[in-house]
Amino acid sequence: MKKSFLKKLSRNEMNDRIFSVVGLLATLLGVGVFLVLLADVAMDGLKRLNWSFLTSFPSRNPFDAGILSAWVGTVWLMAVTGAIAIPLGIMAGIYLEEYGKRNKLAGFIEVNIANLAGIPSIIYGLLGLGLFVRFLDLGRSVLAGGATLALLILPIIILATREALRAVPVSLREASFALGATKWQTLKYQILPAAFPGILTGIILAMSRAIGESAPLIMIGALAYIAFLPQQLSDPFTALPIQIFNWVSRPQHEFAVNAAAGILVLLFITLMMNGLAIWLRYRFEKKVRW
């Protein structure tokens, strides 16, 4: 009896130790694959990455082709997306967190935002196609593309703004109200400055998400072969992920190499932005003690 109990006990401890190894391996698996991915792309793409690659238009000849119109298009898109999504998202977040806390309509809006946050990006593409390209007749333009991406990242910015505002303690608000400040004055001079790093982190993450999106842009008709740069909001455009998708879809190996080089540029941008966001959050968490 006693012997079998002890046996069981040591088996349990054995299992526990086995799991601690399995757990470590599982956790490192994702990280490992990520590093393999980086190495694979770097090996394929680094040799193609040079100045003329960044300053050439796409071409039928893979060795002449570059990503000039792609990255300029991405810059245009981000300007439009940011100009729409950042102010709207912050204002909506402020309303939900600071004004409409206990009313039913705000609750309904909240459910709507939760739903928007979970909708696949390709559905936003269909929305952009139906609403911006056709109904509002913006055509397959930079404006339509940027607006579509803005709707896509709006929920992310709203949620990040709310979270940042929630982290500011009530005592700060109460002190400001006690001094006779109005709600907006309290927000403007106390709450928003305190919540700023948190909001900024959310914005950076949202923009980095928008930079990498391809499906919605394909839907609204971003073209891969654009041999000119957009001059105004109504011009057609391409973007970095679209150009990469186009090159990946071709059978020739040389275009796959171009895709890898394009991916290196795209990854550099998104990973830098994410790194910046993580660093900001880390610093903010460390520094601020209420």
């Binding site: 349990n12 401890e13 299992n15 526990d16 799991f19 757990g23 470590l24 599982a26 956790t27 698996l29 994702g30 990280v31 990520f34 393999v36 991915l37 694979d40 792309v41 709207l88 204002m91 909506a92 309303y95 939900l96 409409g100 309509l105 309904f108 809006i109 459910v111 935002i113 739903n115 928007l116 979970g118 909708i119 696949p120 990006s121 559905i123 593409g125 269909l126 929305l127 139906g130 056709r134 709006l154 709203i158 109005t182 709600k183 907006w184 998400r209 990498g212 391809s214 499906a215 992920p241 990469i244 998708f245 990946v248 879809s249 895709a259 991916i263 990854l267 998104t270 990973l271 790194g275």
Partner: protein, 294 residues
């Protein structure tokens, strides 16, 4: 009303309007999908749509059986989950209960980075790295297949399941752990008998969200899984998912008002319904565990 009060009111109304935009976006999505689907079902009977097993809108002999696109979506989603569920959940348990806090603090940003990689990059990886690798092991593997697309999609979803499940496990009160440890349980026993049951709704919410993400994932399957609608559960052959069909059609130029154009909205509508149901369940489950412990 004093000017100051007026200003306050104007500001509040502006903020309210921007937040109510969320309702309008939802309404616009539903309106557009319904409108185009309505046009589609004028031409194709819903019975054919849900029972026919062929999807050939661009052939001479046209069939509109969404089942073959559903099969592709189902297949890639199951494969992705088979990768992401065990790895994500085990990572979550390890990070929450086993690992040193310093390890957790350095791994979590890495997981975030994995989640931030654009999906077109994962598509490249699936097509040009994973598929050639798998071809060495599985000789009959086609160049486009759901297996490598599903596996890579699973890797993309691991951070989502790991981080949300970790939150759920972490939220279980310390008391419950201490009670079990005091009875002589090992960490693994505490996890299996106490934490997993207690965190069940939170873990389920994360998994359902993972499923929803996999169903909606577009670029990986559009690049690596082929563009051939096929009513099959064979992971080695080219297939087409609901999402990759939409991408395929919109790359061409289907004119507005034609049935080809309407098919992408019908496909989008079924995608919307599926993810909406899953997201709602997940949202409800998360609310429940937050009420229970947080």
């Amino acid at each position: 009303m004093t000017p100051l009060r007026l200003k306050e009111k104007v500001i509040e109304s502006t903020f309210f309007l921007s937040s109510s935009l969320a309702i309008f976006i939802n309404l616009a999505i539903i309106a557009i999908l319904t409108f185009e689907s309505y046009g589609f079902f004028h031409k194709v009977s819903p019975i054919d749509f849900f029972t026919d097993t062929q999807w050939t809108p661009f052939f001479y002999d046209k069939h509109y059986g969404i089942l073959s696109l559903f099969a592709g979506t189902f297949l890639t989603t199951v494969i992705a989950l088979a990768v992401a569920l065990p790895v994500g959940l085990i990572s979550a348990i390890y990070l929450s209960e086993y690992s040193h806090s310093r390890f957790r603090v350095s791994v979590k940003p890495m997981l975030e980075m994995i989640a931030a990689v654009p999906t077109v990059v994962y598509g490249y990886f699936a097509l040009l790295f994973v598929t050639p690798l798998l071809k060495n092991i599985i000789p009959g593997l086609a160049s486009f297949n759901s297996l490598s697309a599903g596996i890579v999609m699973g890797i993309m979803i691991i951070p989502l399941i790991a981080s949300l499940s970790e939150d759920a496990i972490h939220a279980v009160p310390l008391m419950l752990r201490e009670g079990a440890f005091a009875l002589g349980a090992t960490r693994l026993q505490v996890v299996r008998r106490v934490l997993l049951p207690a965190a069940f709704s939170g873990i389920a919410a994360s998994v359902i969200l993972g499923v929803s993400r996999a169903i909606g994932e577009t670029m990986i399957v559009a690049i690596a899984a082929g563009l051939q609608p096929r009513f099959t559960l064979n992971p080695l052959v080219p297939i087409e998912t609901v999402t990759s069909y939409i991408v395929q059609v919109s790359q061409g130029d289907a004119a507005a008002g034609t049935i080809e154009f309407q098919t992408i909205f019908v496909a989008g509508a079924s995608l919307f319904v599926m993810t909406f149901i899953l997201n709602t369940i997940s949202y409800g489950l998360r609310k429940r565990y937050m009420q229970a412990y947080v």
